[in-house]
Symmetry: D2
Subunit: 359 residues, 4 copies
């Protein structure tokens, strides 16, 4: 079964293991935005002519329109999103495309692109958290007087209100929100201008590109800038802790929806039935949210292991930074959306006075 | 930015979180093979008529041909590969397709499909290991007399031969091979017939389906059969340990290829150069093999966390079993192929007598 | 070999698995400080008499003096540090000791003790980081003009200065410092008064105990307060990222100290020799710092897994929160101390002009 | 707070980070047994005289008696168990003690000691599993006719028998048993004679020491023998999977013991009560078994991370191999003992006919 693979020879394997375009094409918006900021700065600093810069900028805009419409082509020979864009730009504007590479390396380019993507992912997580927070507050107000048994060790302990119980999750998610917010502050520096590892001799205006790309300031140390992935780890650890909180709420929904508990009845939109077992309402969404916590934590573990013991500056191992971040982002976004929906709908049928199973 | 997502409403989110077809469509061969074995058994046991079974089997063969040619369609409303196949079968053969579902549940179906896929992945890993073993032995024989410094703590300690050094990896990979082989023995039981969780009242011949699908015997306990993912964890832990060994060899290649060491010169097929720094030969493939170890271990961690504390029998969390296995399989297969290529080529330029840097 | 264990019967096993005193006795200072603050508040609120409170307080002070002098006794029948202190207090002051338990549960007590311990661990980590930062800055100034090869992919790329290289680690550790500082802000709330899970009917002054124990405010939600371990996870993830940075510097020291590189010569205080291989200076301390990263990340993973899917409020699983935190704290403190020492001494022998191996 | 630590100077920190005696003293039996086998072989091969070997052997026996009686002294200056034993031997028998070191290094010595310890831990795990298996079979026979609701998604699905349910865990634990057994086969090779990394010029009889220490054969490759920790990882991954199974059973016991389910009543020996909430029987032991799974998996992750990317042969990072193994062994042993006790007692009160909550 290996014959085919080895028949292709080492070049084919090398090309396959090297290619990041299958996953990093998701960075196309950030890559083009970064390139446009870079070439505008090169023009202002008179490192490239205004005319060349204009040509390049129009080419980049055309590529953005193409990708928006048709998706990003995936050619392993072009390895990654940076070379894919560059190759297309050359097709469109000719050799002047090469000027875009002035005073920039793929090392600072990818560090900038990825940081911008993760910045957006942090903001999206905060928005998702806020949707769950809003749902929690609304339900807590409705159920401020709904008595339910409070548990420790899953043993009924003392009566509490459902509102109070739900607000425990409000506290957890407020801490999650602050973690993503802290991460945004910490990553608010632009790596562009660090080049391969040692900066560049060109007279760049790094404040200009940093500002254009929405960063508070440029990074201070070029070796750090190209080999740092703390921003990705900050995102992954914040997502892990958030997923843990969601897994706890999901566990409660699953237990509460079991027939012996019967605290809540899952709406059809959030559960699946069984034709041969009509008494069942499977809490699929809650179970998937709980399961996703395992994968999000696995993603965080993955990147930590990959970064361990890497000497400065850039090493190719760091290409393995993206799949866990993209995967975790998809999982946490969907988990937050599902949980906001569940919180909003799961207590509709709960009476306002007393839940069954009271102590 | 969440507006769109929530505008779609909870049904859209539910559909998205529930859909496994984006990743489990890779199981299409196993799913169709399992269904063909099941329907043949149903016919033999006179649970469905020979004519219906024949109709269903021809339909399944047609679907296999379609998927082979055109790929598997991805419709989230059909959730997973099982329903995707079933829906297409109904289009082709009409209501008789429903007979296929007799005495079978998606729970034992997916357990069987996935187990078959993982069985193949184990065999592929063994084949990949054997390719590296062969390369190691060939190089070790060539370099049985090549003296090099032996290291502890990365300090030169005592002279060894390059052959002896390479055979240390032979030992590691032989142990890896035995782990995958042990896993194959342990998973050699067919879950089909366990149904949702409690078996079925039909008079099935489980030995027949087990044999048809290449298993030594049917599983013994139906609750275990549908909720067990040990076979996936066995694969992931074997892959993790194998990836650790490859990461150690990769680290050595990277250090040996550095200019101060200069023990090996990376062939062009296994490294990349830099136009502005022609002295460099970046050991990209070795770095990616080293980095991949982080992701493979992350995948193992992921599934362990997901399985923790799940009550019997099937829970939907277990849908999160597949992405880490598929990801790890892709990474370990490629890492083994790349490392076989590296071992085969990296010492071509090494002289047969003495490496530089001898003690 | 199991005979003995089972002969003891289930009570013996139960006592052993339940006992946390072997590891939580480290919390004795926090436990006594918390109890003193609690009883002073009870007295001010006239819930216990001033006389009883005085008696209890003197008893607690005596216990503190005893533990300081003789260590904490480890009696498994007393389970944990809270019961150990309480039992000794009863011996000293008699039945009045029971008043200390008014309006308090072990659930809010342990949440408070542990939070205070982790708060101190965060501050200690910051101090340890600052020691490394100071050493980095001092060496960077000395070596602001020392040219060395800059690496990417461990291939010599462009010349940089050693000072610039060291300041890359300054950036990393400044981010680590900010993570521990963020954690301190987030955990700055006192759980006391949350009782078992639902608060208490007594008229407590929670602001008073919060202030006495150095917290900015009391926690808001009682269910969250007793079941939250985010403060421990914040510490562990910050420690993990910090350990990753230290592992990278350690890897560089190990490579630089190898004979082919020869960039640095390890001082005798930071390495060990070999009587039969006198050419070796084993970089033991650097290797242990690199190895410790694995264990610190393992500790973070451990607590994440333990917390996954726990329903509210307190569950006994949460007793497994402490060993990974105590272990990680010991490892990161020692790693920072060792690395501060290494940075301070490792470049003494490096000439101020040019390192060997320049590009 | 760091003053004290730094005042002690780098030597103190170095001594502390280097010292493994606080945890590796647990290896004293294996260390002495290994030394006795080594010196007996040296005498047979006439590398040391019979008289010297006799003197050394008697000294080692005396040390064993001392440690058995008084415990192992913990002197950080003696670093590890090997030097601790050697130093005491020198006190007892004088300079002849040095002969013990002939043709042996701490690298092969610790690899042998640790392998022997892990071998015993594997056997202990198998015995612990067998105790749980016996309890499961006994309960399953008693409850072969006890009807209970079978669950999927924690929704009541179809009736099953309690006996059938319990035998699902029999299957899981039989797989666990086979994993520990496979590990024993794979580790059945003795590293002694590999010396520091390259073997030794002495005419050793490695078969003799291997046999004396209960190994099937000597290891084949000296570089691998001193840098391999697969045997520890095999143990940790087997323990992780076993702990996952126990966590699932523990979760079920916790849910079944909740008041709404009320399937089982926890005996007093396996639960704790609450004076102010007498209705509660907290399932502490089950919760701790569930929680311990997190720590066992954390230990496996820890050692995987530590081993990643280590060049051959021995590196000091590998000193971090022992704490996670010792911790996991304590946790899995206790979890198995507690679960055997729970399974044996938890169903005594369950009637033989029908559990409450039947579908």
């Amino acid at each position: 079964m290996w014959g085919g693979r080895f028949d292709e020879g080492p070049s084919a394997i090398m090309r396959e293991i090297n290619a990041s375009i299958p996953f990093d094409k998701i960075l196309w918006r950030e890559d083009i935005e970064g390139s446009r900021a870079h070439v505008a700065m090169l023009a202002r600093q008179r490192i490239v002519s205004a005319e060349d810069a204009g040509t390049i900028d129009r080419g980049l805009q055309q590529i953005a329109a193409e990708y928006e419409r048709d998706g990003v082509p995936e050619d392993w020979d072009l390895e990654d999103i940076h070379m894919t864009v560059e190759a297309r730009l050359t097709e469109i504007v000719g050799p002047v495309a090469g000027r875009l590479h002035t005073a920039r390396s793929r090392n600072d380019q990818v560090a900038t692109d990825f940081r911008m993507w993760v910045r957006t992912a942090n903001r999206r997580a905060i928005a998702g958290i806020e949707a769950v927070l809003a749902a929690l507050v609304a339900r807590a107000e409705e159920h401020a007087g709904t008595i339910m048994p409070g548990f420790t060790h899953l043993q009924t302990a003392q009566p509490v209100t459902l509102g109070h119980h739900l607000l425990a999750y409000f506290e957890m998610l407020m801490r999650d929100r602050s973690r993503f917010a802290d991460a945004l502050v910490r990553m608010d520096e632009c790596p562009l201008g660090s080049a391969a590892l040692a900066g560049t001799g060109f007279d760049l205006d790094r404040d200009m590109t940093a500002e254009a790309l929405g960063f508070a300031q440029p990074t201070r140390n070029s070796l750090d800038a190209v080999s740092d992935r703390d921003f990705a780890l900050d995102y992954l650890t914040a997502a892990s802790q958030c997923s843990l909180h969601l897994s706890r709420l999901a566990e409660e929904f699953i237990i509460w929806a079991s027939q012996p508990f019967g605290f809540v009845k899952l709406p059809d939109t959030l559960s699946t039935g069984s034709s041969i077992m009509p008494q069942k309402r499977n809490p699929d969404a809650a179970e998937l949210v709980r399961g996703h916590a395992g994968r999000v934590i696995g993603c965080a573990t993955s990147l930590m292991i990959t970064m361990k013991g890497l000497p400065l500056a850039y090493s190719k191992d760091m290409q393995d930074d993206k799949p866990p971040v993209f995967e975790a982002a998809g999982l946490i976004d969907l988990s937050l959306a599902a949980m906001a929906g569940m919180v909003a709908r799961i207590f509709r049928s709960a009476k306002r006075t007393t839940l069954p199973g009271r102590p």
